[in-house]
């Protein structure tokens, strides 16, 4: 067991990090915001921490919090111009945001190290801390899901005009989704930079975006279990296919297609839905039984 953990620890840690990024992405998608800005938020968080910690000796915990706040504010600022955009247009605008962040990181060399990035970030993250932080984020996500907030997000996603007709201030809740997505993305960006020793703009590019989206879509866009399953698959997939060496991407491709074709809502969501359906069926059966009993009483 210990041996296993020792050998697979980075996989576990990366899994936890991508669960975090997954939630950042999921909040946006859940609220009907087709944002792919998580990469940009992660970059903001990561660079904030990296620069503060390596260049100014700022306390580590404080810099993580600061990175999270800055990314959250970034989310808020981004939501303002994006209020008029929807769907793919939003996606492209957020893509533009990410590209601008990356270009600026490459350009502001004196400050960010350009293409070389920032190195020598102390590696203070470990599985334990990550677990605790992921648990906290999960608790918040869970709370969203069981209170009115989750329902409002669901309403915004499925039919905005209905939400508005019931008094939901669309702009405000989209902004909230952006802020949360930004804060969670920034938080895990910061944690990541405290884990990998070195960061560079490239870590947050197109591949990052595609990866985070894949985690959420493959895992599930609405349930707590979604990003966990998605991140687990994405972490294990390369290991499963490792013996195939250069053919590995192809095998990964085949697996992605198979999984999403058979479980189009994502693995996690499908599991949760299955249990939900069973519960509902049982409840319906109960109701029917109760009704029958009542009918029997009244008719006799």
């Amino acid at each position: 067991m210990i041996q296993f953990y020792y050998a697979y620890q980075p996989i576990i840690d990366f899994f936890l990090l991508s669960v975090g990024f997954g939630y950042s992405q999921q909040i946006a998608l859940r609220a009907g915001v087709f944002s792919i800005a998580t990469a940009g938020f992660a970059a903001i968080g990561a660079y904030t921490v990296a620069i503060l910690v390596t260049k100014s000796g700022f306390p580590i915990a404080a810099s993580v919090v600061l990175g999270m706040v800055i990314a959250g504010v970034g989310g808020l600022l981004l939501s303002l111009p994006l209020a008029r955009l929807r769907g793919a247009f939003q996606a492209i605008a957020t893509l533009a945001f990410v590209q601008i962040v990356i270009s600026l990181l490459l350009y502001a060399e004196d400050f960010t190290g350009g293409a070389l990035g920032v190195t020598g970030i102390p590696r203070v993250m470990n599985t334990g801390i990550l677990l605790v932080i992921v648990a906290v984020v999960m608790y918040v996500m869970w709370s969203i899901g069981r209170t009115g907030l989750g329902r409002i997000f669901d309403a915004l996603r499925q039919e905005e005009s209905v939400a508005a007709s019931l008094g939901v201030n669309i702009g405000r809740y989209h902004a909230l989704a952006f802020i949360l997505s930004g804060a969670v993305g920034g938080l895990f960006g910061g944690l990541q930079s405290l884990y990998v020793f070195q960061i560079e703009p490239h870590n947050f590019g197109f591949a990052f975006m595609v990866n985070v989206l894949t985690v959420v879509i493959l895992g599930g866009r609405t349930t707590l279990l979604g990003p966990i399953m998605g991140a687990a698959i994405m972490a294990i997939l390369p290991e499963l296919a490792r013996p195939l060496a250069e053919y590995r991407p192809a095998v990964n491709g085949v697996i992605l297609i198979l999984v999403i074709t058979f479980l189009p809502n994502g693995v996690g969501d499908e599991i949760v839905f299955w249990f939900r359906r069973r519960r509902h069926a049982a409840a319906a059966a109960n109701r029917a039984q109760a009704k029958e009993a009542k009918d029997a009483v009244t008719s006799s």
Binding site: P81, N252, I257
Partner: protein, 296 residues
Amino acid sequence: MLSQQILNGLVTGSVYALFSLGFTLIFGVQKLLNFAHGATFMAGAFIAYYCTISGLPFLLAIGFSMVATGVIAILVDLIAFRSLRKRGNAEFPALVSSIGVDLILVSIAQQVSKTQVLNFPFGTFPVKFYTFMGLRISLLQLVILATVAVLVALLIFYLKKTTFGRQVRAVATNERAAALLGVNAQSVYLQTFFIAGALAGLAGVLIGLLFNSMQFLMGEPYMLRAFVVVVIGGLGSVPGAIVASLMLGVMQSLTVAYLPSGLTDAIIFALLFVVLLIRPNGLFGDANAVAGGTRQ
């Protein structure tokens, strides 16, 4: 130099147009982003290359490659989209499955090319330059501009003057209703994917020729640009995609020429951002189509 740079931009932009047209067509008919389009484009270049070096006349090689990429695109549809479409709500799952197909195609190409950069043998296409009014333009550039113009005209004709365009729009708006009216959605998909694939394939060959370089990852940067072009042009809009492609080509040329090169991307994307803020549905976007269509 300004006019020379604009010319360069137009040539590049017209190849973007070929690439993006297929992309926008697919989006137009089924509202799905096809991540495998870049790989199809790359496949076009690769197939033409291997045909050429195994002795096929170049024009034949291009033709063969276009047919082959058309078929590849149809396969992409069958493998990645078809079953998801049937269940409805495919927007996001289709993203993942087309990424899957992309991985497969790229991986095959990597094996075939042994990760090497390929280029058409010298002399595949005559290198000739013409100069008029101080502008240098190569025969190849002229041919590309002409080809793109002709193909775009043909495509617009096909969409506007046959019932195909109407069928595409009907399927795009409401596939179920269209089916009840006798529209064969399957055949509409087949045709759009074939056209999209063939155009992407041709774009791949032309890019390969023009810039003398083909490589298994060559599709990626073009995907990114195609996203941008298609959205800025207005999703599903053919004229929008063309105008946006040319604009992007020229913009890129000019930023490289006149602005600090490190900031090219930042500037281009900032401009895109601004375009979207001014026109939230893209340049040629139909406000009605995006804002939810039907009223109460």
